[in-house]
Every structure is written in structure tokens, then in C-alpha cells.
């Protein structure tokens, strides 16, 4: 069964486009990435799943049920972590979590303590005294405390230090192993690659591609920036190199393929600097869709 199905989902805010004809399925048990630059329509798409936003046309079904029509029933199975975290400031963390748990049928007390321990969250502090990263942790615990069948993460990692981010990822993987489906929205390609099986790429409100992450890794472009002397000799014109820009002292290009090839070329050169980096999302888009 599919955990999520988007059927021609379209949302306009007046004349402004939110998203258009979104069509994809997330299978049960999958960790599905949802990636695109800011303003591409990720949040709009996600928010219709929770009926925070009502679609202009089309529909979303969650575990076979229409997300709008059976909204409150559907939301029992969803754990949602919004991108910006704000809670009732004057409350204590534990009171907020208890309030959150009170919406679900089963007792979540043990899970609250378990999760807070993993995330190193102090339950007795007031929310207004917490740092941004700590508020984010409250959000994580709040989103997971009822052991949801579907976890929806909208740019969850901002504000978490790398260590916490790793713990958080481990937590998500663990939930996934227990059977939870995960929809992970992000604008950072590397985190999606690290976690997801498949990924949908959204641009200007449209899904432009759905990729297998393994295949994507295979197809992965690297961005090379090389500085040195006498670089303008045409040696870089090999297969797999694109966007090649050559000057005497600086060469930049994208490369897809066996990196040893490039290493061999570089080994013969006298360099002052070399940078090999992941292309930015925008650059990936340029490559995939030009």
C-alpha cells in the first residue's frame, strides 16, 4: 500500500502559485526525500497533507484515506515537525509534551522520556528560555512521541548541531526500521542523500523528477575548482566534464564519472589550490533540466 498519494494536487493562493499538478506516491516503509529550493512549493505540498492548507484542486490520500475529508483521523498517524518551531512560550517543556500527548489515544509518557533522553532535552525548563536548537528538539520529541506511522519532516535540521543532527537521523532510521514511513523535505541535497531511498525534486511548484537516491549518487556531479599556473592546455576536455571554464590561473568544471580520471590529470599539474565540492542544489537543477 502507498502511505501517501498525491493526485494532481494544485494550490493557488489567489493568483500566486503554491504548487501545481503534484503527482507522486510514497510507499509504506520508505524514507522519501522531498527536495527543492526555498519557495518551490515544498511546504505548501506538505501542509495540504495535514489540512493546514486546502488544495485548489486534486487530492492527497494518506494510507488510502483522503487527507482533507478524514483530516482528524488521518492525523492520528502523522507525526509532523514543522520547519519553524514556536510553542506556547510560557509553558514548561514537559507540560507542552503532555499536552501534545493528550491528543492521542494511547499513553505516551514512556516514549516522551525515552526521546528526551536521546535528544538530551531538559524537560523542566520553560520553552521561552530555550535556544533555537533546543526548541527544535522539543519539536522532534513532540512529533515522534505518539509513534506515528508516517513522519513528516519539513526542513528539520536547521538549528541542530552536527552531533544532534546525527542523533536525530539515527532516530528517524530507527523509527523507519520499526515500520514508519518518512517524508523528509529539505533543500540540502546531502542530508537527503544520506537518509532517503527515493527523492522527488520540486521546482517552481512542479515535480520535475523522481529519482532513486542510489542512482543519483552514481550520477553525482562533483564541482572542481583548480588554481595554479599554465592551466590553459585543454587537458580537461575529457568525457564527463561539463561547464568547463578555463583561464591561465583557474579552471572550474563539473565532472560526472570515474574521479580517478581527473586525479590523474591533476597529478601532472602544479597547483596552488584545489577544491572539490558537492554542487549546490541550483547547480544540480541546471544539470538535470537544461
Amino acid at each position: 500500500m502507498n502511505a501517501i498519494e498525491f493526485n494532481d494536487l494544485t494550490k493557488y493562493y489567489g493568483k500566486v502559485r503554491g504548487c501545481e499538478n503534484i503527482n507522486f506516491q510514497v510507499k509504506e516503509g520508505e524514507i522519501f526525500g522531498f527536495i527543492g529550493p526555498n519557495g518551490a512549493g515544498k511546504s505548501t505540498t506538505i501542509r495540504t497533507m495535514l489540512s493546514l492548507i486546502y488544495p485548489t484542486s486534486g487530492s492527497v490520500t494518506i494510507f488510502g484515506k483522503d487527507a482533507i475529508k478524514y483530516g482528524s483521523e488521518v492525523r492520528k498517524d502523522i507525526g509532523y515537525l514543522p520547519s519553524e518551531i514556536f510553542y506556547y512560550d510560557r509553558m514548561k517543556v514537559i507540560d507542552l509534551l503532555k499536552y501534545s500527548a493528550s491528543f492521542y489515544d494511547h499513553d505516551c509518557t514512556d516514549r516522551i522520556h525515552e526521546l528526551s533522553e536521546i535528544m538530551e532535552l531538559d524537560l523542566n525548563r520553560k520553552i521561552q528560555d530555550l535556544s533555537y536548537g533546543n526548541k527544535k528538539k522539543v519539536g522532534i520529541v513532540q512529533g515522534l512521541l505518539h509513534s506515528p506511522k508516517l513522519i513528516v519532516l519539513d526542513e528539520p535540521t536547521s538549528g541542530l548541531d552536527p552531533l544532534m543532527q546525527q542523533k536525530f537521523f539515527n532516530l528517524i532510521v530507527e523509527e523507519n526500521k520499526k515500520g514508519a514511513t518518512v517524508l523528509f523535505s529539505s533543500h540540502i541535497l546531502s542530508e537527503v542523500q544520506q537518509l532517503c531511498n527515493r527523492v522527488a525534486i520540486i521546482k517552481d511548484g512542479n515535480i520535475v523528477s523522481i529519482q532513486d537516491v542510489k542512482a543519483m549518487k552514481r550520477d553525482n556531479y562533483k564541482k572542481f575548482t583548480i588554481r595554479g599556473e599554465d592551466l590553459n592546455h585543454g587537458k580537461f576536455q575529457v568525457e564527463g566534464v561539463t561547464e568547463l571554464k578555463v583561464r591561465e590561473d583557474k579552471v572550474t568544471f563539473f565532472f560526472k564519472g570515474d574521479v580517478n580520471q581527473i586525479v590523474k590529470i591533476i597529478a601532472e599539474l602544479k597547483l596552488t589550490d584545489i577544491i572539490v565540492e558537492e554542487p549546490t542544489l541550483e547547480e544540480i537543477f541546471m544539470h538535470y533540466y537544461e
Binding site: S43, L52, S72, Y80, P82, E84, F86, Y87, Y88, D89
Partner: protein
């Protein structure tokens, strides 16, 4: 039920402040009555110096001299209606907009609960709070009358009737407040809306009494349950009561419809 409890908790300090301030103010106003009643003629002479229009603006009637207890109550009760209106409008406007303003909407609305239930729970919590204040207010009024009436006579049935009008009055402002909050894109500041409502409609009422144009009365709940009317006649005005009930019910229904359809935007 959990939302109801939670909302009530959030309103706790507000209930305490309004619930003390409004009854105490009325109590203190009425505490001056013995001084006035001690020298009725001097006070009446003093009031005669004021232009009739000004007295009418504050709901005074020639039949009810301010030196009489009903007359004095007319003006003091009328004054207290303003904060009562502001409190009710505050709750109404904040009820459905607070989540969006404080960005907690994502939290609450992503929980497995329908917006219908959210609205009902929140409304009941606000209504409970208003009722607590209302009871305190009624208690303070009755107590103050007993303590300070001296040998003045007053029809207690009229007083009881007057006190019941507060319920309608509060419901009017809560429901209008709700309607406003779901009609606008975003409520930046609750108090500016509620002050405008509370004072604005009082001024409409004052103008109606001063210039005597009838149609203005239909616009202001202060005129629907004018204390002077009730203390003189001892009945509700049927037409106004129907209008008021109609406004309450229709604003409530309309707020519900709009809230159900509302898109909650992220930042």
C-alpha cells in the same frame, strides 16, 4: 476536553485581572452613592448645570435623576459595560487568531482533532472565563446595592434583569470578535481591535442618545440593553433582543465556516 482545559489555563491570569478589576470598580463607584443620596437636591442642582445632551450621551434619562439609586446605577453600570465589552472582544478576537500570531497553529492543527472541535473547545473556554467574571460582577453589584442603598428603594427584579443582559452583551462581542479575526488576513494586535469595538460602539450608542436618531441604536449593543430602559421598564426590548441574538448566531456560524476553510500559512 484537553483543549478546553488548556485554554482555560492560558486564560487564568486574564480571568483574575478582569474578574477583580471590573467588579471592584463597580463596587467602588457604588460606594460613593451614600454621599450623593445624603444631599439629593444639591446633587441634582449640580447635574442640572450639565447640558442635557452630555447626560444623554452617558445614558442618563430625565426620568432617572442621578441622585436616585436606579439613576446612579444606570451610569455606573453603563460605564462597566465598556470593559466588559473589551474583555469579551479580546477573547473573541484572540480565540482563533492567537495560534497564527504566535505561530503555534502548526502544532495545534496538525493534531488529530477537527477544527470544529477546536473552535467549540476554545469558545467554551472563553465563555467560561467570561461567565466567571460575569458572576463576580453580578455578585459585586448585588452586594454593593445592599451595602450602599441606604433608605433608597429599588426594584430588585429590575436589577436581576439588568444583570442577565451581560450574558448577551458578552456573547455579542465574543462572536463579533471571532468573525473579525477570521475575516482579516492576520490580526497583528488584539487589543487595538477590541478597544476599537468596545469604545467605538459605545460612541455610536452615545451619539444615538444625544442626537436621538433611532437607526443608530440598531448598530450598538449598548443600546440593545440600555440600563436606563431596563431599570425603568423592567423588560427587555423584544426587537433589540432579536437583533442581538441574530447577530450572535450569524457571526458565530459565519466564523465557523470561515475558520473551517482557512489556510494556515507557514512563515
Amino acid at each position: 476536553m484537553n483543549i478546553y482545559k488548556f485554554e482555560l489555563k492560558m486564560l487564568k491570569s486574564s480571568i483574575l485581572i478582569w474578574g477583580l478589576a471590573i467588579p471592584l470598580s463597580l463596587f467602588m463607584y457604588l460606594a460613593f452613592y451614600p454621599t450623593i443620596s445624603a444631599d439629593t437636591s444639591a446633587f441634582d442642582a449640580l447635574m442640572e448645570n450639565y447640558p442635557e445632551e452630555l447626560l444623554a450621551f452617558f445614558g442618563m434619562r430625565p426620568e432617572l435623576p442621578m441622585s436616585s439609586l436606579p439613576g446612579y446605577l444606570t451610569i455606573t453600570f453603563g460605564m462597566m459595560q465598556i470593559p466588559i465589552a473589551i474583555q469579551a472582544a479580546n477573547y473573541g478576537i484572540a480565540m482563533l487568531s492567537v495560534e497564527e500570531r504566535e505561530m503555534t497553529a502548526d502544532f495545534l492543527l496538525s493534531k488529530p482533532i477537527s477544527r470544529t472541535k477546536i473552535l467549540i473547545s476554545k469558545f467554551l473556554a472563553s465563555f467560561t472565563s467570561l461567565t466567571i467574571v460575569n458572576i463576580a460582577f453580578a455578585g459585586a453589584t448585588l452586594l454593593a446595592i445592599q451595602l450602599f442603598k441606604g433608605d433608597a428603594t429599588i426594584e430588585m427584579n429590575h436589577i436581576y434583569l439588568l444583570l442577565t443582559t451581560t450574558v448577551f452583551f458578552q456573547l455579542f462581542f465574543v462572536s463579533i470578535g471571532m468573525l473579525i479575526s477570521v475575516s482579516v488576513k492576520k490580526v497583528e494586535s488584539v487589543i487595538s481591535y477590541s478597544m476599537a469595538l468596545g469604545f467605538g460602539l459605545y460612541i455610536v450608542f452615545g451619539l444615538k442618545s444625544t442626537v436621538g436618531t433611532g437607526f443608530l441604536a440598531y448598530l450598538s449593543p449598548y443600546a440593545y440593553f440600555e440600563p436606563a430602559e431596563i431599570l425603568i421598564n423592567g423588560t427587555y426590548n423584544l426587537v433589540y433582543t432579536i437583533i442581538c441574538s441574530f447577530v450572535i448566531v450569524s457571526s458565530f456560524v459565519l466564523s465557523y465556516v470561515l475558520y473551517k476553510r482557512r489556510n494556515i500559512h507557514s512563515l
